[in-house]
Point group: C2
Chain length 125, copies 2
DNA sequence: AGTAAGCATTACTGTATGGTAATGCATCGG
DNA sequence: CCGATGCATTACCATACAGTAATGCTTACT
C-alpha cells in the first residue's frame, strides 16, 4: 500500500544514498569500490546495503564485470515519481524567485496574491 | 554541519508532512483544524508536531487569527535546496522519457549511449 | 465567571533503520 | 592450488523519530 513515491522519498532521506545517486548521475557508471572510496568514514558493507536498497527500488541497476559490480543510474522510476509531485510546487518557485528579485529591487510594491487565487475558503466571521 | 538539503529531505521523507505541504500547495493557506481533518487516523498533537518541524525548516509559516493558526506554504527554502539538486537529474529524465517513448513506438532501435558521454574512466583491463 | 474550542508542549513508547563486524562466495593473480 | 580482492549477507546494536496521551495556554462564547 505504501506508494512508489513514499518509498522514493524514504530512500532519498539518507545523505549517503543521495550522494551515491549524485555520483552516478555526475560521473556515470561506477563500481562499488569506486563508490566506497567516496565514503571513507563508512565500511564497505554499509555501502553495499545502501546499494541493495537502491537496487530494490530500481533507482540503480548493476552489471557484473569479473568480480566487480558496476552500478548505474536508472532514472525512470525517479522521474515517474518525482515529476508529478514537483508540478505542484514549481509554479510557486517561479513566483518565489520573482519575489526574491522584487525584494532585492525595491520595497513596498505590496501588490497582493502571488499564490493561487483560491476563492473557496472565506471564513472570516 | 548537516546541510539545508539534508534537513529538507529528512522532512520530506514522512508521508504526513509531504501531504501537509501538498495540501498547502494545492489549496492555499489552511488552519490546523482543516489540515488535521485530512488525517483522521492521527491525533492533532501529532499534526502539530509535524507543523512545528515544518516551521522549523521554514517550509511553512503561520499567522494567528483568533485562536486559529493559519499555515501557509513558504516555497523559497524548498526551491533553493531542490532546484540545484534536480539539475543533476533532469537531463536524464528527458532522455528517460525519450527512451520510454522509443520503447512504446518500436523495438530494436538499440542505438547506445543516452547517458553523459564521460570519457574519463576507462578501466577495461 | 465558567466552559469550551484551538493549538502547542511535554514525556513516554515502539519501531524502523543506519552503522558495524563477521562470514561467505565468487573471481583473479601468482 | 592458494592467497587475495571485490562484493553480498547476516546478525547485532544504538539511535532517531513518528505516534499517543496528558497538560497547559489563549481566545471565544454565553
Amino acid at each position: 500500500m505504501t506508494s512508489d513515491r513514499d518509498a522514493l522519498f524514504r530512500i532519498l532521506a539518507d545523505p549517503t544514498r543521495r550522494k551515491i545517486l549524485d555520483l552516478l548521475a555526475e560521473q556515470g557508471p561506477l563500481t562499488v569500490g569506486e563508490l566506497a572510496a567516496e565514503f571513507p568514514q563508512l565500511v564497505t558493507s554499509g555501502i553495499s546495503k545502501h546499494l541493495m536498497s537502491l537496487r530494490g527500488a530500481s533507482l540503480v541497476s548493476a552489471t557484473r564485470r569479473g568480480r566487480e559490480q558496476i552500478y548505474q543510474l536508472e532514472p525512470d522510476v525517479m522521474a515517474a515519481a518525482l515529476k508529478p509531485w514537483l508540478a505542484k510546487y514549481e509554479r510557486y518557485w517561479s513566483t518565489a524567485l520573482a519575489r526574491l528579485r522584487d525584494l532585492a529591487e525595491e520595497r513596498g510594491t505590496e501588490a497582493g496574491q502571488t499564490s493561487p487565487r483560491n476563492a473557496r475558503r472565506r471564513r472570516r466571521k
